[in-house]
């Protein structure tokens, strides 16, 4: 069992800086989701950890073991880092059967033959691939190959497993099963898992902690899933983890009003640190209809999604997303074209972006 520590890791492809002084702690026996938009350097960070990229600065620890250090001139080759990896493109070896694929890492770690056999069968069972043991990867679908890759990573290491988008090719039901399975495996063995994805739903289901990277490769926020959803550290996190509406407000002669139309006043509380302009972010389900509100809008489109209505509301020329639960009072009464008053619950405020 081992945690992972990145300390001031930098990496560049030629002149293009991907990571700069990146630090992150993954605690022992946890599932940490590394979440970020594509191209932000998640995969690069993973490659630094497993030893396929050589960072230009910093140190990387797996447990107490330093696997890379620029200053101490330590750079342990990938095969001796003891990290299981699920690659984004599965990287299942096409000339070996499913079973051979799963056995290979244990053979390289020189495990006794009967144990290899036993562990491989067990791992395949966990990913529901037992029936396919004698198949060649070319006979499998993308999702099945992905599961083979997961099984192979499971037997590679008891300590640390890194997964780079491991379930993108599975259908929704299997995806959920796989996530539960990964969770269960982690509970049983206590492996530390670094799970890399841009899919926030998967990470919410799976992780103990989330680390959000912004598109510049900077760590924006590290915390539990609740922390991140309820208390996004900055505007990037707020926008990244869900659908959001933004309104620009400005203070005209001591009164907060909407930037584009001074006639519409805003009567909610705004933190004191903002003095003239501010951007207000609101989630679609935090917008409620209130016929007494002075903020008037028109419902343009309403889409019934079973448990909720997804509405597109026109507010002073701006399209606003609103979500109403089907079971709210009178939710079904609001028709397309009707005028409503809206109110904002739980707004968050950030420094105004240049318009």
């Amino acid at each position: 069992m081992a945690g992972i520590r990145f300390i001031n890791v930098s990496f560049a492809y030629g002149d293009k800086k991907i990571l700069e002084n990146f630090s992150l702690d993954v605690e022992d026996s946890q599932i940490m989701c590394l979440l970020g938009p594509s191209g932000c350097g998640k995969t690069t960070l993973m490659r630094c950890l497993i030893g396929l990229n050589k960072p230009s600065t910093g140190e990387i620890y797996v447990g107490d073991r330093c696997v890379f250090s620029k200053d101490k001139r330590i750079n342990i080759p990938p095969e001796r880092r003891g990290i299981g990896v699920v690659f984004q493109d599965y990287a299942v070896w096409p000339h070996m059967t499913v079973f051979e694929n799963v056995c290979y890492p244990m053979k390289k770690h020189k495990l006794p033959k009967d144990e290899i056999e036993k562990k491989a069968r067990y791992a395949l069972e966990q990913v529901r691939m037992s029936d396919y043991a004698p198949y060649l990867p070319s006979q499998l679908s993308g999702g099945q190959q992905q599961r083979v890759a997961i099984a192979r990573a499971l037997v590679s290491s008891d300590e640390v497993i890194v997964m780079d988008e491991p379930i993108t090719n599975l259908d929704a039901k299997l995806r959920e099963e796989m996530l539960l399975e990964i969770r269960q495996i982690q509970k049983n063995i206590g492996t530390t898992i670094l799970y890399i994805t841009h899919d926030q739903e998967a990470s919410l289901q799976l992780c103990d902690k989330m680390a959000i990277m912004d598109s510049e490769g900077v760590l924006s926020q590290l915390g539990t899933d609740e922390d991140i959803i309820l208390r996004p550290a900055n505007r990037f996190v707020f926008e990244f983890i869900g659908v959001s509406n933004f309104f620009k407000l400005s203070k005209k002669s001591g009164v907060w009003c909407f930037h584009d139309n001074e006639n519409i006043k805003f009567d909610g509380a705004i933190p004191d640190e903002y003095s003239s302009v501010v951007d207000m972010g609101v989630r679609p389900n935090d917008i409620v209809f209130d016929k007494n509100s002075n903020i008037r809008a028109t419902v343009r489109r309403s889409v019934f999604l079973g448990s909720e209505y997804n509405m597109f509301v026109d507010f002073d020329g701006q399209e606003v997303r609103v979500q109403r639960s089907t079971f709210d009072d009178g939710a079904g009464d609001i028709k397309e074209g009707s005028e409503v008053g809206i109110k904002f619950l739980n707004p968050v405020f950030y420094n105004a972006k240049e318009a």
Binding site: K54, I76, P77, E79, F87, A91, W93, H95, Y104
Partner: protein
């Protein structure tokens, strides 16, 4: 992400990992095999006893005989390119787009000239039409009471004809595959838009297959400029020389002395210059854009109905096949059986005595052994070197990988004759004072330089199909770099390695151009021995040995087909 794999080398912890060793080895090997021979040619052409000296070069260039040889080379190459392209194009269209019957059969026959060395064909045609001695000439003369031979194959025209019949498949194969990959709706929409059938061919089909034509024509041009076999067999008796045969004649006349070789180098420079100019002109004339409309997948094109022309065209196609494929082959087997050259080809003159002589002669048996040894060794060595260089170029991507790539492909566009001279100059003590001249190893070195690009290209194409994450995954699974190569990468490119071996083994078995300049008393190859037997007047024996070579080639080809088919099935 692309540079990432290069870091694996640094990951080894040691300063010089396996990757570093492979990179350095690739550079050193290509330097020795390719750069030094080229340098030696240029140096010896322009420097004499350490001083810059143009006298030799200018005297060789302005020599009347040499100028004539250069003229012949260009005339032959241009004519062969034009006629070969037209022929290849016509038959490609006939087999690819018309409703002519028996396509598969004809297609198989059309590719046969690919397999056999053109000088076998030249030998056969020489037997039929050489002056008053050729079988058909004699028959025509006695039948029609002619005084002179009606057809003279020992002429520029004869050389052009024979080279054409062996080189037109270059265009044929390229165009047929382009036609097959072309989207037929392109032609159909032109018809719908109101174009007549002939307009569709000229305005739509032809421009679309232009890149394929251009590639095929280029192959013909380069091959013909550098070609040795046909002009040597048909031309020597009538003093018709091309640059490659002139180089051979010069060196042969001087008995392999340094002076002869030096004159050879000057001519080599001339030949290389002609090839280079031809390449440039060809690029200008046939400059072609690339079209995306040629798709990778095979579609069923609409076939043009030949109607009344169907059977005349079928007859023409069969006649062509008969003349260029069947006649030479049959001729070689028949003459191999005849007791003495010149006897009529009738049953009572036939015997197996030539084969007995061939198999009893140690020199001949040695030549077969030499060729087998050389081809297998060159095949295996090049297979591994090709994989190594392809790996360095595609995976390790060191600085100067482009240099590496060019160096490994360059020898293919250098005429074999020129390469042979470079190899002689390099391995007569110039490199580490090693003298390989007159041994079998100098031929091996030349074959390696000549054929390395084949296995390199084949391995390169295959490596590009193998994602580097497969190797990275095995590193992460606990395999060292060497183990990953052995367990993952090599097994995955094994089919390409096997085909790379045969791509070298087959042409090396029938090689003549370089070995004829490099052989020593104990290192004759199969091609050289056939050439020498014929040169010494033992024509039936030469034919017998040639027929043995043909059988060997057919067997090897069958093995290749069988192996590649097996791979596809798996």
């Amino acid at each position: 992400m692309r540079k990432a794999s290069s870091d694996i080398a640094a990951m080894e912890g040691r300063r010089l990992g396996l990757d570093g060793i492979m990179t350095i080895l690739s550079f050193i090997l290509l330097f020795i095999i390719v750069v030094i021979p080229i340098f030696m040619i240029v140096y010896n052409a322009f420097f004499y006893q350490g001083k810059f000296d143009l006298t030799l070069f200018s005297s060789v260039i302005f020599d009347k005989e040499n100028l004539k040889a250069m003229g012949n080379t260009i005339i032959i190459a241009v004519a062969v390119t034009i006629f070969g392209t037209i022929m290849g194009l016509f038959y490609a269209w006939l087999l690819g787009r018309s409703d002519i019957p028996a396509k598969g059969f004809m297609r198989a026959l059309f590719t046969i000239p690919y397999m056999f060395p053109p000088f076998f064909g030249a030998m056969a045609w020489d037997l039929l039409f050489s002056g008053r001695a050729g079988y058909i000439n004699r028959w025509l003369m006695s039948t029609f009471h002619l005084r002179t031979a009606p057809v003279n194959i020992n002429s520029l025209g004869g050389i052009i004809f024979v080279e054409c019949s062996y080189y037109f498949p270059f265009v044929f194969m390229q165009v047929v595959s382009a036609l097959e990959r072309m989207d037929p709706t392109l032609e159909e929409s032109a018809r719908i838009a109101g174009a007549r059938q002939s307009q569709v061919i000229w305005k739509i089909t032809l421009p679309l297959v232009k890149p394929a034509i251009s590639a095929g024509a280029l192959l013909i041009l380069i091959s013909s400029l550098a070609h040795f076999g046909v002009p040597s067999i048909l031309g020597f008796s009538k003093n018709i020389y091309t640059l490659p045969t002139m180089i051979y004649a010069l060196i042969n006349k001087s008995g392999g002395s340094f002076d002869g070789i030096r004159q050879g180098t000057a001519l080599s420079i001339l030949l290389v210059a002609v090839v280079a100019i031809a390449l440039v002109i060809q690029k200008k004339v046939l400059s072609s854009g690339s079209y995306d409309i040629i798709k990778g997948k095979s579609m069923r094109p609409t076939l043009i109905k030949l109607r009344g022309a169907k059977y005349p065209l079928l007859f023409l196609a069969c006649l062509t096949l008969l003349i260029i494929v069947i006649v030479p082959l049959v001729m070689i087997f028949l003459v191999a059986l005849v007791k003495a050259y010149g006897l009529p080809l009738v049953w009572k003159n036939f015997s197996f005595s030539n084969y007995q002589k061939v198999f009893a002669s140690t020199a001949t048996m040695d030549s077969i052994k030499n060729s087998l040894l050389l081809s297998i060794t060159a095949g295996i060595v090049c297979m591994f070197l090709g994989v190594m260089i392809a790996y360095v170029v595609n995976r390790i991507k060191p600085k100067g990988k482009n240099v590496l790539e060019i160096l490994s492909i360059l020898p293919y566009s250098i005429p074999g004759t020129v390469l042979a001279i470079g190899v002689i100059l390099s391995w007569s003590g110039a490199i580490f004072k090693i003298t390989l001249y007159n041994t079998i190893w100098i031929i091996l070195v030349a074959y390696m330089a000549r054929y390395l690009s084949f296995s390199m290209k084949s391995a390169s194409a295959s490596l590009q199909q193998v994602n580097s994450s497969l190797e990275e995954a095995s590193r992460a699974c606990g395999a060292t770099h060497t183990e990953s190569l052995r367990d993952i990468t090599l097994p995955l490119i094994k089919p390409a390695m096997v085909s790379g071996f045969f791509l070298i083994f087959l042409p090396a078995m029938r090689e003549l151009t370089t070995s004829i300049l490099l052989y020593g008393p104990y290192s004759r190859t199969l091609g050289v021995q056939i050439f020498a037997l014929r040169d010494a007047g033992m024509i039936p024996q030469a034919a017998a040995l040639a027929s043995v070579a043909i059988v060997l080639i057919i067997i090897c080809n069958a093995i290749v087909t069988w192996i590649t088919k097996d791979r596809k099935g798996a």
